[in-house]
């Protein structure tokens, strides 16, 4: 009964489609973010002009619902043909059968590995790649030029300089309350990445071992955590919750320094003061690290036959140098291919330059449940700041909690 109905419908549709030069329609899904949607509209227009037999329909959902919608669509058997996903969701998407491996004949591994930044390996499971990014993100230190000039200091290059600049730019009222922060403290923002992939490494540790298990429950992890919480407790140059969020404090001109990502450039563009960007500070030995992340595009598990071919063509186009150029100019995110990203003009750009340099030595955390793992870092800092727990106990508890999430994710 149902089959007959579907067959009839298919017959009807194919009859209509004959008139339209046998066009294939594929669906592309991403979350709503103005500049991303605009960039994708441009890409689709160019792609359709080059491939008149393929039409691409863009569907978007609010970020908060996005994963749920993808999952629900799969349960209903009507997934997208090309779908955007955060690299940290790959395990969930692969295990859930939401995306299919990229055909190595169309996307040769050697080419991917030589032309993209090495962080693309986070999309590889076993011998297969499950997606390719158009753009990548990294972190950098934003500074408020007006506040630095007022204090007569230069943007910091090392952690010691960071402390000095933060101290010089912090303003306090008569009771010692911070009225303008030296540096923002916001573990719910990007600080947990800074702690995980940068501070721990600069203190001689690694956040995870080769098997992906938690490895920061040691002296290095403790030193990194102490450095972070000391900003509030010992140095009094920042306050968790100051102005509600780190980025809000910076935008309001009430924080001299903040660590944030490329994706914040758009929001900071109309800040009513002059600001700049430098690489994340190095440690005393000059060691630098960074955290890079990206949204990749994968091919939906339900795409087959001519839709699959069309989806592959589309994915090839949106990970091409041309598409990355458009994405960079519309969204501001960095190209995922080295040759497109590391041009002289880009490296000399005062804003793009520091982020691009960060990409060279960036790490990409293998997340199992990003929100829950971030929560363990938030709680770890809160236990020290709000409950007075010792650094060592707090880090041990965080390590146990995060390992439990990783174990659960592997099941």
């Amino acid at each position: 009964m149902r089959k007959a109905y579907v067959a009839g419908l298919a017959a009807g549709i194919s009859f209509i489609a004959m008139g339209a030069a046998q066009a294939v329609e594929i669906e592309y899904w991403q979350y709503v973010f103005d500049s991303r949607v605009q960039a994708m509209d441009q890409l689709i227009e160019k792609f359709e002009a080059a491939n008149p037999d393929i039409t691409v329909k863009q569907t978007t959902f609010p970020y908060a619902d996005y994963q749920t919608r993808v999952v629900a669509a799969k349960v209903a058997g009507q997934g997208p043909d090309v779908v955007q996903l955060f690299y940290g969701w790959t395990d969930q998407f692969v295990n859930g059968g939401l995306i299919q491996p990229l055909d190595p004949a169309v996307f040769p591994h050697a080419e991917i590995e030589s032309e993209f930044f090495p962080i693309v390996s986070a999309m590889k499971r076993g011998d297969d790649y499950y997606g390719l990014p158009t753009a990548v993100r990294s972190l950098a230190l934003f500074y408020n030029k007006a506040l630095l000039d007022e204090a007569g200091v230069q943007p910091p290059n090392t952690l010691d300089e960071l402390l000095a600049v933060a101290e010089a730019t912090t303003k306090r009222d008569g009771s010692g309350n911070i009225t303008s922060a030296g540096i923002t403290m916001d573990m719910a923002g990007q600080d947990h990445h800074w702690w995980r992939e940068v501070l721990i490494r600069q203190n001689g540790g690694v956040p995870y071992d080769a098997e992906g298990n938690v490895a920061y429950n040691d002296a290095a992890g403790a030193a990194a955590l102490k450095f972070y919480t000391d900003l509030q407790t010992e140095k009094n140059v920042g306050l968790v919750g100051f102005m509600d969020e780190g980025q809000a404090a910076f935008r309001a001109g009430l924080a001299a320094l903040t660590i944030d990502g490329t994706f914040r450039l758009g929001a900071f563009a109309d800040n009513p003061f002059e600001w700049g960007v430098v690489e994340l500070p190095a440690d005393a030995n000059g060691l630098r690290s960074n955290y890079s992340s990206y949204f990749a595009n994968g091919i939906g598990a339900t795409a087959q036959g001519e839709e699959l071919v069309a989806a592959q063509k589309f994915l090839q186009y949106i990970s091409s140098p041309e598409a990355m150029e458009i994405w960079l100019n519309t969204v501001g995110e960095l190209p995922a291919r080295r040759e497109v990203a590391l041009t002289e003009a880009n490296l000399a750009d005062p804003i793009r330059g520091p982020f691009l340099k960060g990409l060279e030595y960036a790490q990409t955390t293998q997340f199992y449940d990003e929100a829950a793992q971030r929560q363990t870092a938030i709680d770890m800092v809160n236990r020290v700041l709000l409950e007075g727990q010792s650094i060592e106990d707090s880090i041990a508890q965080a390590a146990a909690a995060e390992q439990a999430i990783i174990d659960q994710g592997r099941q």
Binding site: V71, Q92, L98, N177, D186, D244, L254, I378, D379, L386
Partner: protein, 310 residues
């Protein structure tokens, strides 16, 4: 119209005609009632029973659900966060309900006697109830900020009191959220209490005055006992409201939902996170069953305690 249509089909017409008018009425009534009943059964009862079943599985949306017995419940009862959340939920209930009822009764009691601009004052009290919880949550969230933007801390600093962490404290956060939650519900409770007060016949008060009873005695012997149906309704209504608290908590703590350190997390928020952030639908269903049981027990208990004694 009906008879014209009915003529060719003799069978059913004869049966329908044989029914007397009251039977026909009942059938018609049921025909209309059936629509909401079927809708309600499909939208409410079926998912409720489905949730009981899901709580015994490990469904994660992606893979088919597998029966795992009571493993979700074992995990939940062994989880210290669940008990913390359980405790928070009851704190919202046992502080929120009595405080909001007493405050709204006192306001209604005195407002009832105010003649000057009565409607205007009543409207002012009702206004917060009309405001979206999300918008209200955000405004209060900024009230509670540290200096230089937090209004409350700005005031405290100006009179020489140390600034308070409010939402950034494991001890103060829950109360900081409870205050706007109580305030938001006051308007509705005041209106209901005033309606209850108006429903008490004036003759009772006149008789009491003639007998020489004071205000306090009138309140204790007449007003409060006669307000019982209103009170029962409001106790049940507000208890369910506090047990289901979510909007205020979520909006006032979005960066660290239910935090800091789960100090403000109610059961509903935990369910939301388990289901729609971690996609552990089975585990979330088990938590939902617990919430359902609590709501049921609390409601039945209150109805029993406050029942009419005959």
């Amino acid at each position: 119209m009906a008879s014209a249509n009915a003529l060719p089909q003799t069978g059913p017409v004869r049966f329908w005609d044989r029914l007397n008018i009251s039977t026909k009425r009942v059938i018609w009534a049921w025909a209309f009632l059936a629509v909401p009943i079927i809708f309600y059964a499909g939208i409410r009862f079926y998912p409720t029973f489905q949730a009981f079943w899901l709580s015994l599985t490990n469904w994660d949306l992606l893979r088919p659900a597998q029966f795992i017995g009571f493993a979700n419940y074992q995990k939940m009862f062994a989880d210290p966060i669940f008990w913390k959340v359980f405790q928070n939920t009851f704190l919202y209930l046992i502080i929120g309900t009595p405080v909001s009822l007493v405050v709204s009764f006192v306001i209604a009691y005195y407002l009832d006697r105010v003649k000057l601009m009565h409607g205007f004052i009543r409207a002012l009290y009702f206004l917060p109830f009309l405001t979206t919880a999300a918008a209200m949550g955000w405004v209060w969230r900024w009230f509670y900020q540290p200096v230089p933007i937090g209004v409350i801390n700005g005031f405290l600093s100006s009179i020489g009191i140390a600034q308070q962490p409010f939402l950034r404290s494991v001890d103060q956060a829950l109360f900081s959220i409870l205050i706007p939650a109580i305030w938001a519900g006051l308007g509705f409770q005041i209106i209901i209490f005033m309606a209850g007060l108006r429903a008490i016949p004036n003759t009772f008060y006149e008789a009491a005055k003639i007998d020489g009873l004071g205000d306090w005695a009138i309140l204790r012997k007449i007003t409060i006992p006669l307000l019982k149906p209103t009170t029962v309704f409001l106790v049940v209504f507000s208890s369910i409201g506090f047990l289901r608290i979510f909007d205020q908590v979520y909006n006032m703590t979005t960066n660290d939902p239910g935090g800091p350190l789960n100090a403000t997390k109610p059961l509903v928020l935990m369910i939301y996170q388990t289901a729609f952030s971690s996609y552990q639908m089975g585990y979330a269903a088990a938590q939902t069953v617990v919430l359902f049981t609590i709501l049921l027990i609390v409601s039945l208990l209150q109805l029993y305690v406050l029942r009419e004694k005959k």
